[in-house]
C-alpha cells in the first residue's frame, strides 16, 4: 500500500482531489470540495514544476495546506460574489417580520401608550408607534424580530 502510494508520486494529489470532490457529492455542505480543489492544484503544480525543481512530498503537503487555507476566502467570494442575499428567489424565508416592512394595515384597536396590536394573517402582532385611534391606517416601517414599529400613514 505504502509502496503503491510512493510509486504513484504526484498522481496521488489528483486522485485524492477527485475522490474528495466525489465525497462532497455524497456528503454536501462540508468543506471537502475545496480540499479537493486544493489537492488538484497541488498535483498540477508538482507536475508543472517537475522539470524546474522536484518538490519533496513534504513541500507538496505544505503547499496543499496553504492552498486549502487560501481556498476559504475564495469560497467566501464565491458564496457572496453571487450575493447570497440577492441570489435567492425568496429573500424573506424564515424572516416573516422583515417581509411586513412597508405594508399598510388597519388598527383594530387603538395604539395606547405607544403599544398596540395589529391583526395580520389571522394572528396578532404587537406594534409600537405613535398613539392612534382604532380604524386608522398604519405603515410598518421597521421590524426587529417580533417587534414591529409603525408610523401613521
Amino acid at each position: 500500500m505504502a509502496e503503491l502510494f510512493v510509486a504513484l508520486g504526484s498522481w496521488n494529489w489528483l486522485i485524492v482531489g477527485f475522490v474528495l470532490m466525489a465525497l462532497e457529492l455524497l456528503a454536501p455542505g462540508i468543506f471537502l470540495f475545496w480540499l479537493g480543489v486544493a489537492a488538484l492544484l497541488t498535483g498540477v503544480a508538482t507536475f508543472a514544476l517537475a522539470s524546474v525543481l522536484a518538490l519533496s512530498w513534504q513541500a507538496q503537503a505544505l503547499l496543499f495546506a496553504a492552498l486549502a487555507v487560501a481556498a476559504v476566502p475564495l469560497w467566501r467570494r464565491m458564496a457572496r460574489g453571487g450575493a447570497a442575499e440577492s441570489s435567492t428567489t425568496n429573500p424573506f424565508l424564515n424572516r416573516r417580520s422583515d417581509a411586513l416592512v412597508g405594508r399598510v394595515f388597519t388598527l383594530e384597536k387603538p395604539i395606547e401608550g405607544g403599544v398596540g396590536t395589529v391583526r395580520i394573517d389571522d394572528t396578532f402582532w404587537r406594534v409600537t408607534g405613535p398613539d392612534a385611534p382604532a380604524g386608522s391606517r398604519v405603515k410598518i416601517v421597521h421590524a426587529d424580530g417580533v417587534n414591529l414599529t409603525v408610523a401613521g400613514v
Binding site: A65, A68, W75, L93
Partner: protein
C-alpha cells in the same frame, strides 16, 4: 521518518481540522448561536459562515421554521361545574434565536404549560354551552395571552387551536335527550297548532254554510210570501172582475157558471172508479133554476144580438141571404 516529515503531516492534518471547525454551513430554516468561551456572541444565518476556531463554538441549532406543538389532553372545569376534556395545538415560530436559546431553558415545555394553564383560566370563566359554541373566542383569547407571555423568549405564537372538547358521557347523553325533547316539543306544538287551525277553519265553514242556508230560506220565504201576495192579488182581481161583471151584467150569468161547474163535478163523481153508485141529494129545483138561468142568458144574448142586427139592417146595405125575424 525525520521530524520534518512528522511536522508536515501534523500540520496538514491541523489545517484540515481547523478548516472544518471554522467553516459552518447553516441550512435554511435554522439559525445557529455562536458562543465565544461559553458566552453568546452572535447568530449565524443560513448559508456559508466562518467562525474563529478554538475561540468560537456552535451553541444551539435553533429551528426558525414555524412549528406545531400538541397541547396534551387535560380536564377543565367550566364555570357551571362541568368537567370537560380538552386538547389542542399551538403554532409558533422562533424570531430571535438567541433569546429562544438562552432566555428559556425548555422552550417547548414552556409553551405547552403556559397554554394549558391559560386554557384552564379561559374555559373556567365560561359556561359549558359557551365553551362548546365559542371556540373562536377561546382561541383568540388564548392567543392574545400566550403570545404576550412568550414574547420575552423571542418567539411568536401564531395560532392556538382547541382541537377536541369532550364532555363526560352522561352529559353528552343528557344533551342528546335535551335536544330530542326540544324537537318533540316543537313537533307537538306544531301539531296542536295544525289541529287548532283546522278546527277553526271547519267551524268557519259550518258557520258560512248555515248562514247561506238561512239566507236561502229567508229568500225563499220572501219569494213564497210574494207569490202568495201575487196569487191573492190575482184572486182579488179575479173576484173583482167577476163581481164587476156581475154588477154590470146579470146574476143569471153567475148562475150559469155555477151550474156548469156543478154538472162537471157531477160527471167526475160519476166517472170515479171506486163508487159506481152515488147517492146524492140532487136538488132538482136548483138545477132547474140554473137551467132557467141559462135560458135567460141565452135569451138575453140572442135578444141583444137581434136588436143590433136590426139596427145594422136599417142603417146600410141590406144583407144578402134570408133573414129570420124572431
Amino acid at each position: 521518518m525525520s521530524g520534518f516529515d512528522i511536522f508536515s503531516i501534523v500540520l496538514v492534518l491541523l489545517v484540515i481540522l481547523t478548516l472544518f471547525a471554522g467553516v459552518k454551513t447553516v441550512p435554511q430554516g435554522y439559525n445557529w448561536t455562536i458562543e465565544r468561551f461559553g458566552k453568546f456572541t452572535r447568530t449565524l444565518s443560513p448559508g456559508l459562515n466562518l467562525i474563529i476556531p478554538y475561540f468560537d463554538r456552535v451553541g444551539r441549532k435553533m429551528n426558525v421554521m414555524e412549528q406545531v406543538i400538541d397541547i396534551p389532553q387535560q380536564e377543565v372545569i367550566t364555570k357551571d361545574n362541568a368537567t370537560v376534556t380538552v386538547d389542542g395545538v399551538a403554532f409558533f415560530q422562533v424570531f430571535d434565536a438567541a433569546k429562544a436559546s438562552y432566555e428559556v431553558s425548555n422552550l417547548d415545555q414552556g409553551i405547552i404549560v403556559l397554554t394549558m394553564t391559560n386554557i384552564r383560566s379561559v374555559m373556567g370563566s365560561m359556561d359549558l354551552d359557551q365553551v362548546l359554541s365559542h371556540r373562536d373566542e377561546i382561541n383568540e383569547r388564548l392567543l392574545r395571552v400566550v403570545d404576550a407571555a412568550v414574547s420575552p423568549w423571542g418567539i411568536k405564537v401564531n395560532r392556538i387551536e382547541i382541537k377536541d372538547i369532550v364532555p363526560p358521557a352522561d352529559l353528552v347523553e343528557a344533551m342528546g335527550r335535551q335536544m330530542k325533547a326540544e324537537r318533540v316539543k316543537r313537533a307537538d306544538i306544531l301539531q296542536a297548532e295544525g289541529a287548532r287551525q283546522s278546527e277553526i277553519l271547519r267551524a268557519e265553514g259550518a258557520k258560512q254554510g248555515q248562514i247561506l242556508q238561512a239566507e236561502g230560506r229567508r229568500e225563499a220565504a220572501f219569494r213564497d210570501a210574494e207569490a202568495r201576495e201575487r196569487s191573492a192579488e190575482a184572486e182579488a182581481r179575479a173576484t173583482q172582475m167577476v163581481s164587476d161583471a156581475i154588477s154590470k151584467g146579470d146574476v143569471a150569468a153567475l148562475n150559469y157558471f155555477i151550474a156548469d161547474k156543478y154538472i162537471k163535478a157531477f160527471g167526475q163523481l160519476a166517472e170515479s172508479p171506486n163508487q159506481k153508485v152515488i147517492m146524492l141529494p140532487v136538488e132538482a129545483m136548483s138545477m132547474l133554476g140554473s137551467l132557467a138561468g141559462i135560458g135567460e142568458i141565452a135569451k138575453a144574448t140572442f135578444g141583444e144580438a137581434a136588436t143590433s142586427q136590426a139596427a145594422a139592417r136599417r142603417g146600410s146595405v141590406p144583407p144578402a141571404g134570408p133573414t129570420k125575424s124572431s
